[in-house]
Subunit: 229 residues, 2 copies
């Protein structure tokens, strides 16, 4: 058998991060101008190489932190990309990760020292290597996730209106949803607290603000469900 360790080839293992955010303009991803060759100066996912003494999950967190200053972001592994020439310099396999984060909560850090920038998904630039494909796959995964787990805590501000939540789901699914049906389905999950307080910025009438009920939200995260929107 050829299968001895010594005869096996070693390769570089990269991690690339698809970071989703959401604001008034819709669903966004976080990109950086690549600061080393090749493709220096081109737009790219946030990425880096796995270290010998590091698991992939930690590498993803470290790499994200390096480029954005973000801490404690939970990321999920997506897929390993292995086309021979995906990186022209050296054989590199890349494992993609994705995360959802709240743009407002994290923007201060970004603006301070880092070069990462948010792009609306619709008008994101062409990315290096196979990063556009990674983004597409991450969007598919995000849509799937939407159908089996609640989404929101990560992407919305602490207090939000039903409209914001609706628009978040519409952005993720890229389709229009019926307002009344959406509200009743979301309410049936019982993960929201309706506040007394209203947001008067968005309309004359004002709209009630909600928060996520953290305990119930976490509980729903553990157990999958089916949410047909």
């Amino acid at each position: 058998m050829l299968n001895s360790y010594s005869s096996a080839d070693k390769v570089l293992l990269a991690v690339d991060c698809i970071i989703f955010g959401f604001d008034l303009e819709g669903l966004k991803i976080l990109l950086i101008k690549r600061d080393f060759e090749p493709e220096k100066g081109k737009w790219s996912l946030i990425g880096g190489f796995l270290k010998r003494d590091e698991v992939l999950d930690d590498a993803a967190i470290r790499i994200l932190n390096t480029y954005t200053g973000f801490n404690d972001i939970y990321m999920e592994q997506l897929y390993a990309y292995s086309e021979i020439d995906r990186d022209p310099v050296e054989r590199t396999i890349s494992v993609s990760y994705y995360a959802l984060i709240n743009i407002e909560n994290h923007n201060a850090e970004l603006i301070k020292n880092y070069h990462a920038q948010w792009f609306s998904i619709a008008d994101a630039p062409h990315l290096i290597f196979d990063h556009n494909e990674m983004v597409q796959q991450a969007i598919r995964r995000l849509r799937y996730r939407t159908s089996i787990k609640p989404i929101g805590f990560e992407l919305l501000p602490e207090k939000f209106t039903m409209r914001q939540l609706l628009e978040l789901y519409e952005a993720i699914l890229s389709k229009e949803l019926d307002k009344r049906n959406f509200i009743s389905k979301i309410n049936s999950l019982e993960i929201l607290n309706k506040l007394e307080e209203k947001d008067m910025a968005s309309s004359r009438k004002g709209s009630y603000l909600y928060t996520f009920n953290k305990e119930k939200y976490e509980e729903k995260l553990l157990n999958d469900f089916v949410l047909n929107l």
Copy 2:
């Protein structure tokens, strides 16, 4: 930035294959007695190392072929496992793949020259490294796949009875299904051809044999659906 290629660590990249089969006894997986150290002689998933000039999908196919003689098996990538000491000899990241195959069609090859063996999922032995975890994850994925794609072509013989199909789904989902409801849901997919011919082996009355309508089956593979069983 630390991010130069030359300073990055290289690692071994393995591929491990979870091969599902199905027969009278239920859902099975294919295992081998590992033929090299460490853990030589222990039961293991079929696995090997990625070569420098090979993509992961091809590595999975090659490795499966090496240990079983099987050709043309379509495998799907699952997940990259990267615990530091998952392999005690050397830092190795392993990407798992899974496939569904028809035991009868492929057994002749196996018996001839190879050492792989089928085990019922329920009484599979303890596996080396993190392979048991890989199997568990593959089962979860298989269940999910069942809800969005038709399953059968790969696992059943050319001609099969409704009972066989039902039992396949029951084995995958590990739950009992209502016969009549199952049949009507499957029929609504319109992927089966009902033959004139009956299988007289399983009962006095005999039961009609079916084949998959290959075109419609492939079509359904492309477009996800939701199948609530």
